[in-house]
């Protein structure tokens, strides 16, 4: 499985990359939204882990762009939000986020969420394939 992390904090990217790699997943990382969009269009991952506070465009703008691209419309997106920022959750939901993890998160929780999204995607892909 291929997971893309879009997060401007290199230390979080490093720790999550390590954790995801231990699960046997292939990890791609981007520190800003523009780089992320480029990678996403070149080679879409199975799950996108997206922080909402990104330079220069916010994670919401990346999410909006993802949902506007036909090839990425069904990409499962896990959004990282800060605890207590309810308005961020509402915005992300409106823009098409599939799941949330609030900072500070535990490694176990985020792995679990990514796994569930991946399983869901497989189901969707299967259904689509079956159509």
């Amino acid at each position: 499985m291929r997971v893309m992390i879009v997060e401007d904090e290199p230390n979080i990217v490093e720790s999550l990359s390590f954790v995801f790699s231990r699960e046997g997943w292939q990890v791609v990382a981007a520190l800003d939204g523009d780089t992320a969009i480029g990678h996403l269009l070149d080679e879409p991952p199975d799950v996108l882990v997206l922080d909402v506070m990104l330079p220069p465009h916010s994670g919401f703008e990346v999410l909006k762009r993802v949902r506007s691209e036909p090839s990425l419309r069904h990409l499962p997106v896990l959004v990282l939000t800060a605890r207590g920022q309810e308005k961020d959750r509402h915005t992300a939901l409106r823009l098409g986020a599939d799941a949330f993890v609030t900072k500070p998160f535990s490694n176990r929780d985020i792995v679990q969420q990514v796994r569930e999204l991946a399983v869901g995607k497989e189901g969707t892909d299967g259904a689509q394939t079956g159509c």
Binding site: N11, I12, A82, G84, K103, P104, S106
Partner: protein, 529 residues
Amino acid sequence: MATPLIGLKIRERRKEIGLTQTELAGRIGISVSYLNLIEHNKRSIGGRLLHQVADELAVGPEVLDGATERRLAGDLNEVVADPLFDRNRLDPQAIDGLVGRYPAWAQALVTLHRAFLDRSKAMHALADRLNHDPFLGDAIHRILTNISAIRSISEILTSVDDLDAERQRRFHTILSEESARLSSAAQGLSTFFDKAHTATRSTTPAEEVDDFILENHNYFPALEVAAADLLRRLDAPPRQLEERMLERLELDHRLNISRAGPEDERLRSARNPLRYSQHSRRLILLDSAPAATRRFAIARLLARLTFGAEIEAIIAESATLTTPAACERAAIALQSYCAGAVLMPYDRFLEDASRARYDIDLLRRAHGASVEQVCHRLVTLRRPAAEGIPFAFMRSDPAGFVTKRFPLPNLPLPRYGGACPLWAVYQAFQAPDTVVRQLAEFPSGDRFLFVARAVVKGDNAYGQPRQLLSIMLACDALYADQVVYGDRLDLSASAPADRVGATCRLCARNDCPQRQEDVIIQPQSLEET
């Protein structure tokens, strides 16, 4: 207050210092029977005679004419109008009695109410900052991000047994970095809350300064003397005054003066046409600022550097100014007072005002001042035996926030929030830079002439928002025939006038289509017949 107590006060004070009616009447040159009528409130007293009586009784005229009590009663009226007391059904008739019999209790109530409003403002300001401040949002996100990294790395270190040594070192380094960032973010947050607290406390000092100026009737004789003395030393015709003031700043105060280029102009604040650094003793003049604003700012800086001792002495004597912040604000207000006194010297300005029948534009041109500077100076013409017309002054922003006020005894101006929306001060916003005059009648029957004008403050660069302020002078309609703005107005008591109030909550005009809130006070004396 409804009942004038002036006669009673004269009698009480006369007896207190052991003077007979005959002795006092003889000293002030009136008959004993006339003094007797005054003491029984059967004859009114004011002007020079009141000042003479006050001098003989060794008290200030404000002690005798009840100005202090009227102000306190006005403040209490605002307290009673607070929605907080809606259910208490406070009887406004009792205000006079409370002020007359228990002035200390009345003052305590006003103080308590102000403290309550201060706390409420602080609470709302803090809540607002917590909800909307972008710094706070960023800081919290930063802290949570640092914690996320620390938590994630810690979990790896405790749960993964086969980490190689290099990886362990790397993760320990990350832990150290993120801990340091977390500390820094937490310190920033702590500083933010300190500043937020300080900022919200500034409301009380502003009110202290407000009261300090009212208590002094906006007239400071020591500063008038000092300003007149400085003007003599400057020895300059009005056209060269700015130049001479700059010379004094350069020579006496050793300031290094330069002129700002266009790139600085764009950044200038409308409130500050010059930049002064005390540390480097540099003064940068923003040349394209409005001339009146620049001259005033130069005069204020000269006053600040020249009259420090005089200003400090006045502040030190005041019992009203209790906090360093209030003293600082008062010092700035007094520096501005001095600037007005230097640019518009008392005697000449009073004479010009009287001759021009208080035409603000004529005075503005004659003294090279702005509308606001002239209006402000007119209010300070309170020297005993050389007084101008008593004016109230009010300055409001378009949101109705009163940014400056100086009331008259029988014309209370709101301290908090807006006044009656029918007042000329608000109508003036509809046509900036146009004089709006209004003969206004209050439910009590008192009539005032309102003269207002909305002016653009400063001279902003393209793209900067304009700061629009409305400035209003008000005088008792009795004086309207002495000012140019009363011309061609029917000033007879039966002439039609705009029916206004103080604020909705204090106004008994129940049929007013402009009403925004229910009236809380319905005193019989204010009810319409």
